[in-house]
Symmetry: C2
Subunit: 141 residues, 2 copies
Amino acid sequence: MNMPEENVVETLSQEEVWAFLGSQQLARLAFAIAGEPEIVPINYVVSDERIYFRTAEGSKLLGLTINARVALETDRVGDGVATSVIVHGTARELQTIDELEWAEALPLRTWVPTRKVHFVEITPDELTGRRFHLGDGAPDA
Amino acid sequence: MNMPEENVVETLSQEEVWAFLGSQQLARLAFAIAGEPEIVPINYVVSDERIYFRTAEGSKLLGLTINARVALETDRVGDGVATSVIVHGTARELQTIDELEWAEALPLRTWVPTRKVHFVEITPDELTGRRFHLGDGAPDA
C-alpha cells in the first residue's frame, strides 16, 4: 500500500474533535515535572468544553504547580479506522465547595474505587484530531 | 463498592510488565519541548528490552534533542480488568546504516503507510505496571 498520505489521513473539524472526546472515557495525560515527562491514564468526562477527572491524594499530578500545562490523548481503533484526538491545555485542581459539589455529580468512572478525592479541570486551548484509514492493516515496511 | 485499594489494584512484576508491553502494539508517547508537554500515539515493537517505533519527517518528536527523556503508556481494558504499563526512558533516533537495516526488518505497523522514515529507539530505565480489577464498573461517586 503506497497511497498519498492525504488519502488515508483526515483532519477532524473542531466539532468532530469535541464529539469524539465526548464519546470516549479513557485518555492519557502528559505533563512534565522538573523537565521529566510523565504520563498517566485517566478516566474523564467533558462538560461545557472542559475536561474533568479525578486523581488520588499523593499522585504526581497534584505536584503540578497551579495552571500547569498538560497534553491529553484519546483514541479508538476498529473497523479499519483509527481516530486520535490530542488536546493541549491548562490544568487546575477544583477547590471551592461549590466546584466540588458540582464535580461530585459528574458521571466520572475511575479504575480505583477509593481514594480519588481530588478533581482536576483541564481548559483546552488547542484541539486536534485525525482519522487514519488503515487499509488492510498490513505492516507498511 | 468500597474495597481497600490493595484488593483492587495489583502491581505487576517486571516480567509481567515486559510481557504486557510485548503483547500490545499501540502506546502513547509523552515528551516535552521547551517545557510544553506533548503526547502522540505510536505503534511500537519491543526487541531486546528496547522499544522501537517509526516517525515521520517533520514530526515534533524529531525536534527533541539527542537522548531526550520520554514517558510511554500502553493499556488494555476488558473483562473487568484494566492493565496499564508506564515506561520512563531515553529516546534516540537510529542513525547508522546497520541500525536502519536492522530496524527495517522489525514487524512495525503504523497508521500512516507513507512518510514514516525515521526510527526511534527508547531505552527504558523505569517500568511500572498496574492491573485494576474493575468490579461492576459502576461509577464510584
